[in-house]
């Protein structure tokens, strides 16, 4: 019963992956009629014949000389060897190498933010639910109203200005040598932590309040359930009820939103990375976009969506472990 559910979910994920892959291939081709012209704009003092030859060479170089269908097959073949193609930057670096270079730096920001938001948020939310209607609860409610009104990039700008420039507590923007000089020494790690502080704080504020509000509502909903009354009628102690009965059930919606934010871990920080000049995936994507480097864009998009699909799959499977009712449809 459980096995069939897992297989079904995996097959579904594979199907979605192929849909994404195909869209990822065709959508850029809708916008560009002749890629060679884009890559190699006509230059003065070049005859039409010369330019035609150059375009032909460019097409062959990037694989546009064959039919679209053949291109699609070539694309699939490349992918099957984990080859995302070559960027249009000078030196033709491989797309996968560029992504591999930037990914860890984005993960430093997003994973730290996620862990901080999740732990503090769940804690605050539980306290607010427990102290429902008292000042702790009101505080969370007001904080969430304010944080909805203040987007992360605004908080980031304010933090960068006040904590960075005025008070000089943390670097206002990332030290440009941070990446190049990183050598796993304690000193280097300290520098990274120092530089990451403001971007992480500006993203975590919204996260903490979001998870907090989410947890609070979920805990309160579960507290009103009949089985909590049963647990109280059994004479269980308050802590036992909280951990074993309330939180376990209240975690279900949180896991869902956690799964969703995991898929946003890689791509979610574009603006914040830009503000603090953090050399992560978001910055890479913007660079690719502004230079029309579309093998790189395609590579990043495919990587992001694959990551999202896997994250959703893992969430769904994890849900089965948490909530035994999920498999009920498969059983009968």
């Amino acid at each position: 019963m459980k096995k069939s559910f897992v297989i079904k979910r995996i097959l579904y994920a594979v199907f979605i992956f192929f849909v994404v892959l195909t869209l990822n291939f065709f959508i850029p081709r809708i916008g560009i009629d002749d890629p060679a012209e884009r890559y190699y704009p006509p230059q003065g003092g070049m005859s039409d014949i010369e330019y035609e030859i150059i375009k032909q060479i460019t097409r062959e170089q990037y694989g546009f000389h064959v039919s679209t269908w053949q291109q699609y097959l070539n694309y699939l073949e490349d992918l099957s060897q984990f080859n995302l193609g070559v960027s249009l930057r000078s030196g033709s670096p491989r797309v996968s190498a560029l992504i591999g270079e930037r990914l860890p730096w984005t993960l430093v920001l997003s994973v730290t933010t996620l862990i901080i938001s999740l732990f503090i948020g769940v804690l605050i939310g539980t306290v607010a639910a427990w102290k429902r209607g008292r000042w702790q609860d009101t505080l969370l409610l007001n904080a969430s109203t304010i944080s909805v009104a203040l987007p992360a990039f605004f908080i980031a700008l304010m933090l960068s200005f006040y904590l960075g420039f005025e008070l000089e507590l943390f670097p206002a923007y990332t030290n440009p040598n941070m990446v190049a000089q990183f050598d796993w020494s304690w000193e280097a790690i300290r520098v990274v932590a120092n530089n990451a502080a403001l971007p992480v704080i500006s993203m975590a504020i919204g996260g903490i309040v979001g998870y907090g509000q989410n947890t609070r509502n979920s805990v309160i909903a579960v507290t009103n359930e009949d089985f909590i009354l049963t647990a109280r009628a059994k004479g269980l102690k308050q802590n036992t009820i909280l951990y074993k009965h309330t939180l376990r059930n209240a975690m279900l919606p949180i896991v869902t939103s956690l799964g969703m934010s995991i898929s946003g871990l890689i791509g979610g920080a574009i603006i914040i990375e830009q503000i603090f000049n953090w050399s992560g995936m978001g910055t890479l994507f913007l660079e690719a976009n502004s230079t029309g480097d579309y093998p790189l864009m395609m590579g990043i998009m495919l990587f992001l969506s694959t990551f999202a699909i896997i994250a959703n799959l893992v969430t769904e499977l994890f849900y089965v472990v948490l909530d035994p009712r999920v498999t009920v449809g498969e059983k009968r």
Partner: protein, 331 residues
């Protein structure tokens, strides 16, 4: 007096709301003898469930405010017990069986572990020993293949099985008093009979006092010894089951009995009590039942009748009781 398992005097429960005080329970006395089954009957919204939760001091406060002059379980006065002290009473000395077993069981915990919890909380035993007792308890209430059933989650069991699990849980620590809050309402009729059978069997075998909350008079006639009829937060009649069914004194009790359709009876029309229970914020003056009562007089509209006690132990709150025999009147 000490053959009383539960003695409750003057229980009052109110829920303050923006529109005014909702008086859910207005001064109820309740006596349950050892090994006796007492039924509390009445329409929805007359305060039955609130009473049952109040006995266990399980009402959420706020919003509920509860006051009681005496709440004695066996020899223990629970009135002033703290929440911590009540926690060790609940489950061990009083337990409750809720109406809807689907929602009363934790959906993400196996039923076995939910019964285990009861043993582990009130006894100093290992998890293994607790599971052994759980399996015994489940077998006692007629759960087949208890061993594999214990590892099921609530949604994998049928309604009747879930209710049996709740019963097993309630009897787990052999409490002094069990409250069954409409234990069969959520079940279909054939399963109702089985579950009642189990409940009555367990109660008689272990000589536990049972407080049965229900609106189903056929259940009452099968199981109960004494019946309290509640109306809009007050007791309107107390009688033994046989007396109540033979000669209901209060017009409301009479109406309840007459509204049970009988297959064999082709002569009499099926009777209904007109209207419904008054809204707790708009209770009428005088006797709460008078707007629905066809015997009501001017006096009924002005004054709340006292709960009158007859020599044979019956009590009725009515100025114009029905079917009263001469011997009763003399007292």
């Amino acid at each position: 007096m000490n053959d009383n398992m539960l003695t409750m005097r003057n229980l009052k429960v109110v829920f303050p709301s923006n529109a005014g005080m909702i008086r859910a329970v207005e001064g109820i006395d309740l006596d349950i003898r050892k090994g006796e089954c007492v039924a509390v009957v009445g329409e929805s919204g007359c305060g039955k469930s609130v009473t049952s939760l109040a006995v266990m001091k399980l009402l959420n406060s706020p919003p509920a405010l509860m006051r009681v002059d005496e709440l004695r379980l066996d020899d223990e006065e629970l009135k002033d017990y703290s929440e911590t002290k009540m926690q060790s009473i609940r489950g061990q000395h009083i337990s409750i069986i809720f109406q809807d077993a689907m929602t009363a069981l934790n959906p993400v915990m196996t039923v076995g572990r939910q019964v285990d919890e009861m043993f582990l909380r009130h006894n100093d035993i290992s998890k293994k020993e607790a599971r052994k007792r759980t399996l015994e308890a489940l077998e006692l209430v007629g759960v087949p293949e208890a061993k594999s059933r214990a590892n099921n989650f609530p949604h994998q069991l049928s309604g009747g099985m879930r209710q049996r699990v709740l019963i097993a849980m309630a009897f787990a620590c052999m409490p002094k008093l069990i409250i069954a809050d409409e234990p069969t309402t959520a079940l279909d009729v054939t399963i109702q009979a089985q579950v009642l059978e189990v409940l009555r069997g367990m109660q008689q075998k272990h000589d536990v006092s049972l407080m049965l909350i229900t609106h189903d008079l056929s259940v009452v006639s099968n199981v109960a010894d004494t019946v309290y009829v509640m109306y809009s937060g007050k007791i309107v009649e107390k009688a033994s089951v046989r007396d109540l069914f033979k000669t209901p004194h209060h017009p409301y009790s009479y109406g309840l009995l007459a509204s049970v359709p009988k297959l064999s009876d082709t002569k009499h029309q099926f009777v209904q009590i007109p209207d419904s229970v008054p809204h707790p914020l708009r209770k009428p003056s005088g006797c709460y039942f008078h707007p629905r009562c066809r015997y009501a007089t001017e006096q009924c509209k002005k004054e709340m009748p006292p709960l009158e006690r007859f020599d044979n132990g019956r009590e009725v709150r009515c100025y114009h009781p029905l079917n009263v025999t001469d011997t009763e009147l003399q007292s």
